[in-house]
């Protein structure tokens, strides 16, 4: 059980890293894109815009934490 937990934790840190909210935001943006494509739209702009906003939000929080 200990090894399974360590293995899971390793991959979590490897992929998700310090800010899980960014990974969760990426998942939401992908789901939104999928939903719009399924509805017949071509939202090519959605993911790049979401990525830049998520990055900015993450940097804002990290800089506030570092400054406090």
């Amino acid at each position: 059980m200990k090894y399974v937990k360590s293995f899971g934790l390793f991959w979590w840190n490897f992929i998700v890293g310090d800010d899980w909210q960014v990974a969760a935001g990426v998942a939401v943006a992908l789901l939104l894109t999928w939903g719009l494509v399924a509805a017949g739209a071509n939202p090519w702009w959605l993911l790049p815009v979401a990525v830049v906003l998520l990055l900015g939000w993450s940097l804002y929080r990290a800089s506030r934490e570092a400054a406090s």
């Binding site: 890293g17 310090d18 800010d19 990426v26 071509n42 790049p48 990525v51 830049v52 990055l55 800089s63």
Partner: protein, 252 residues
Amino acid sequence: MSTSSWLVVLGAFLASAVEAVEALTIVLGVGIVRGWRSTLIGSGAAAAVLAVLVAALGPALTVIPISALRIVVGALLLAFGLQWLRKAILRASGYKALHDEDEAFAREREQAAAAGNEQKAGLDWYAFTVSFKGVLLEGLEVVFIVIGFGSAQNQLGLAALGAAVAVVVVIAAGVLARGPLSRVPENAIKFGVGLLLTSFGCFWAAEGIGVDWPGNDLSLVGVIAFFGASSFLYVRGLRRQRGRLVPLGAES
């Protein structure tokens, strides 16, 4: 070769180079203090494990339909690349300390000198395990990038070649310099790798879902430019904000 293929090779080369620099620091620190035999056997064993991983996982992924593969690989590269980009921006703006190879080298030598002298299977166990773990952990990120880039672009051989060339260049530079490669602009390279990982991840994930990119593969260059310009503006904004918090000269 198309623009995206060149970018795949470049991404694999840069990611491999920056991780190889960090692995070289560990191997040199241990090897100089503990001797080279066990250190090089440990490094070689880790390199063999990494090569087996690429050889086994890479071709196995090609049986997965390309659109499903691009969604999964793209989403993973996107989350992974954003970590690299985020850290590189925080380092460039002064909110996170830069990685110092000289300091890491000194720390590694200190720990190697203080460790006990356990022998197992005719090897200096400390030198073997530290060099094995160091090369394996630094190399895992490269394997992930090579497999991700290679499988989603169907260019595994090219991606692996780019990574292998980088390792050879870094080892040669390390032998010539006879020390850690502390002059390599690690953060600038990590910035570039983060930018490529995030851009490819975004491009492939959206394409896998069914998005039609305007201009097809050419829009990848547009995505890189968009993320690059945004990151540059974030660095400038954060530097300005930090300058207001920490007046010049107050850090020393």
